[in-house]
Amino acid sequence: MNVIFLILILFLVGAIVTAFAGKWSSLLQDGLFILAVTIPAVLFFTQVEMNQLVGWTRGGIHLELGLTPFSYFFAILVLLLGVASAIYSVGFMHGKARKSYYYFNYLLTIMAMLGILFSRDFISFFVFWEIMTWASYLMVVMNGTRTQEIGIKYFVFSAIGAYAMLMAIVLIHAQTGNFLIQDFIDTYPSLAHGRQILIPILLLVGFSVKAAVMPLHVWAPGSYAYSPMSFTSVFSGALSKMGIYGMVIVFVTLLSHLPEGGLIRDIIAWMGAMTAVIATLWAIAQDDARKLLAYSSVGQLGYIVIAVAIGTPMAMLAGLFMAFMHGLFKGALFMVVGAVEKQTGTTDFTKVTGLIRKMPWTFLTALISIIALAGIPPLGGFIGKWMLYESLILSDHYLLVIVAFFSSTAAFLYAYKFLFGFFLGQEEEEWADVKEAPITMLIPMLALAVGSILLGAFPQLILKPINNGLISLGFSDSYGKLWETSTLFNEWGDKVVLQPIIYAIMGVFLTTLAFTYFRNRKRTRYVSTKDISTSGEIPLAHENLTFKENFFQPFLRAVEPVMKKQIDWYYREFGAGLEAIFNFTRRIYSGNGQTYALYAVIFLIVLLLLNGNLFGQ
């Protein structure tokens, strides 16, 4: 059996076995679950060969699976997050209800994502895409809160996307006679112009939904916030990147043949920019960590969309690098929220504060990830952002630079709020007994944080797979190393510019850290936050000294007009209107049998009167 097939089967069998194993032993179930993720992951990295196709026929449709260098890059992200989050899940789901349900859907989601990346024909692609959708839908509704609202919204938008894609797929089939992706790419330049425009747009709609691009993003905040945090780290970290994956392929292989391609790219880039701005503003306004991160995810995806839509080699590189980084740090941050939620039972900033000494390792993860998110050197986030700005400027998109810069600066606000909210601020007695999260949750979190640091120092680790992927898609460069177009990686003497800078910053940072730690180790005295005596006033126990409500109030007041009406509102009104209309159509069925008979007779008479016109020879 081909190893690609084996991997998918292993996931599927693993999902079923794990789901039933809970009947016998919870520990066995956890073990099986970890194995069900790691064994296929190991198989993937050791056994799968590039560009090897395995094909078969189902229902008269030829299907092909195989791995390309481009999907290999995304597979790294999926499996990395998949394994990390799986280990985390064991700790997170411990003692929670619906564990079997969770494990089953988790494994199916990972399988579906890998399947998408393996697919070399549209039908497998769509099948895995839809499996991913319903498995993640089941995760979104898992907590049972607001299922009819959040869950249905997620599904409806996914369905809009998926059905746009399906429409494109059947149109493609009508043109090429089969469903193979490569065949379509080859015949695309010779299609009629109308189809040439329609098909990529439909595909892009499909992918934009998963990538949460502006008018189609409204599902994302709720869905990210209400699924279990351990899953959200995969959901926001890897699953949303499937949209980016598809977008890149459409941009590179299809739109480059289209005269209007540039326009479409610009529109998408601007939609991405708007997403980044609005979502960042909304993230700042949130008081719930889950929602803050959810909006932040949407915003970050906006950047990535800008980058891949611009589509110069450097921008692509930046976008994909940021996609990977986003997977790492956002995965870690959702895990942090999950850990806080697990230990305290809430994720509200206005309730939980001052956990820094209770959960130091969690804080460390949060700190590193937030630095990466904000794009501060020396961590990996910086490199992605630098390359994004550089490529935007080089391709003359100055307005976009301004917008991107604005939202990335605004992102500092929520980044700070996140860090401050949970960990800094006043220690409250309510949280005096909070313990550090269990080790199974800490290890994956820290591993992802270390990943962020590592990619800051050695970005080539992941730039190389991205580079290979892009080259296999058709980008070319005389060196075969696309990243060297960026000033960051310019040769300076015989050294790359970036490395000395990074090492220097890291050195300074680490030395300062070590110095202060060792110097102050002996002299440190832990005091309560209330242990102050400014102006001779001693605060009472219930008195709040740090601000935790109305964070950033002046800023939010300034941007209020922008945020007054959410797009969400229009969709809700539209949906309500449709439901009202549909409620009215069913009154055709009046309940009176005689009316129905009358319908029949009238229908007959109308047909008889129409006869010649209706059944023209």
Partner: protein, 493 residues
């Protein structure tokens, strides 16, 4: 040859009359005989399907009068495939209703199974017959047994539903008689093959008139749009398995009749467009009406109507791909909707009103039934990797191949509505709190077997559609090849 197509009509008819007699000997016979008969019919139809693959269509002549004079039964790949499907569903319906509610008593069980046998006879007869008037008779058999079965539960509003059904049915049978009469006076024959052969001689207006009368008449049974007022009521009030049988057996037979008449007997291009337009209207109206339903079975009924609309759209495309898609849709709908009716009946058990809110929290009390309902819901929405996906894909692909881009878009948009109302129910089952006054009722072992075998088909075909696609493709070939149908029957003379 292992048996004759006549047995498909003769045996259940005989069984229907034997049931009360045998019941006098041993009361359990009432319950056992239908199962044996249906199992035999299933075996017979499967073996005949295998037989015709090597020997070609069987044309059975009744009492020595060859066509076009006598009545003939045709077991072709198309009618054979449908017969197999119907007998299989009939068997599952029997299994499911073996000890169903009132059926534990002797008297109701006797009536129930007699009528069920008659219903199967009529439906199979409609599919197999090669004679137009014979088809009329079978339609009436189906309808009358349908009225009886609908009003099976005395305490519900079942008589109301049955009366509406009867009113529509009576109009339909009058129209059908008029249509048949026009054909007979014009062409002097009732044999469908011969009508098809002579059709070009017929006066154009007469042709159209007769077609309209027949289409309206059969449209009542096939649940096309303005004629389907009875359907939601009947599905709501009939016993669960009968709702499944209605949507899986009776309606399929009516659609078969509809299609046989348009594709084989007539040569009017406009008839395909009629199917397309009316199918689309049926689909849209039914799916939108289903969105705000408060009762589970009524929602399923509208969904059922909508799916039949889809099948009609597919037939209306008129290409071989369209026919293939339509047959696939009919097949998958029959299986999935039966699964939904079977499991849905237990989720809202013992509630005469069958409100959707009564499924709240049932996932905890009836995990397997709830899971099967969810599987059915996912499958009928068309989510891969379940069976419904392949049929929907076939339909969309057929529409796109015929350049009907708008049609593809409309179908997809309306499908979203369908997804919404099914998922709302699924969410209720698993994530809502159980209402205090609902009592979960464990399905009987028979019902469980019936549901599990349907679910197994949904999954297996979903992963391996090749099991049925060959059969469906042969059936589609058979329907498209009008000349061969005529030749095969008339050469029997």
């Amino acid at each position: 040859m292992v048996g004759s197509p006549v047995l498909f009509v003769a045996i259940p008819l005989l069984a229907a009359f034997l049931i009360p007699l045998m019941g006098m000997i041993w009361k359990e016979f009432v319950r056992i005989i239908p199962g044996l008969v249906l199992a035999y019919m299933l075996v017979l139809s499967v073996s005949l399907i295998i037989y015709i693959q090597s020997h070609g269509t069987i044309v059975e002549v009744i009492s020595g009068w060859g066509p076009p004079v006598g009545i003939n039964l045709v077991f072709s790949p198309f009618s054979g495939a449908l017969t197999t499907l119907m007998t299989f569903l009939g068997l599952l319906v029997w299994l499911y209703s073996h000890k169903f509610k009132r059926n534990v008593d002797y008297e109701p069980a006797k009536k129930y199974f007699i009528l069920l046998m008659l219903m199967v006879t009529g439906s199979v007869g409609m599919v197999l017959t090669g004679d137009l008037f014979n088809m009329f008779v079978f339609i009436e058999i189906v309808s009358i047994s349908g009225y009886g079965l609908t009003s099976f539960f005395v305490r519900r509003d079942s008589a109301e539903a049955a009366f509406k059904f009867l009113l529509m049915g009576a109009f339909a049978s009058s129209f059908l008689l008029i249509g048949i009469m026009i054909i007979y006076t014009q062409l002097g024959t009732l044999n469908m093959a011969e009508i098809a052969q002579r059709m070009p001689q017929m006066d154009y207006h007469m042709k159209v008139f007769s077609l309209i009368f027949i289409l309206v008449a059969i449209g009542v049974e096939a649940e096309t749009f303005p004629l389907n007022g009875w359907a939601p009521d009947v599905y709501t009030q009939a016993p669960g398995p009968i709702s499944a049988a209605m949507s899986g057996i009776v309606v399929k037979a009516a659609v078969y009749a509809n299609i046989r008449i348009i594709y084989t007997m007539y040569d009017l291009q406009g008839a395909y467009e009629y199917l397309l337009i009316i199918g689309l209207i049926t689909f849209i109206v039914a799916e939108t009406a289903a969105l705000k339903q408060e009762r589970l079975k009524r929602m399923l009924a509208y969904s059922s109507i909508g799916q039949m609309g889809l099948a009609m759209i597919a037939f209306g495309i008129g290409t071989k791909e369209g026919v293939y898609a339509a047959l696939f849709l009919m097949f998958s709908h029959a299986i999935i909707k039966s699964l939904l009716f079977f499991s849905g009946s237990y989720l809202v058990y013992n509630k005469t009103s069958k409100y959707i809110k009564h499924v709240n929290g049932m996932g905890k009390y009836l995990p397997i039934t709830a899971f099967l309902f969810t599987l059915g819901a996912f499958a009928i929405i068309g989510l891969p990797p379940f069976m419904g996906f392949w049929s929907k894909l076939a339909l969309l692909s057929a529409a796109a191949d015929s350049n009907l881009v708008i049609l593809v878009a409309v179908i997809l948009v309306v499908s979203i509505v369908e997804a919404v109302y099914y998922l709302r129910v699924v969410n209720r089952i698993f994530f809502f709190k159980k209402r205090a006054n609902t009592k979960p009722e464990k399905p009987t072992i028979n019902a469980m077997i019936a549901m599990l075998s349907l679910a197994a088909i949904v999954l297996v075909i979903g992963f391996y559609p090749d099991l049925v696609t060959g059969l469906i493709e042969r059936a589609a070939d058979d329907l498209m090849d009008k000349g061969r149908y005529i030749g095969e029957i008339l050469s029997k003379n």
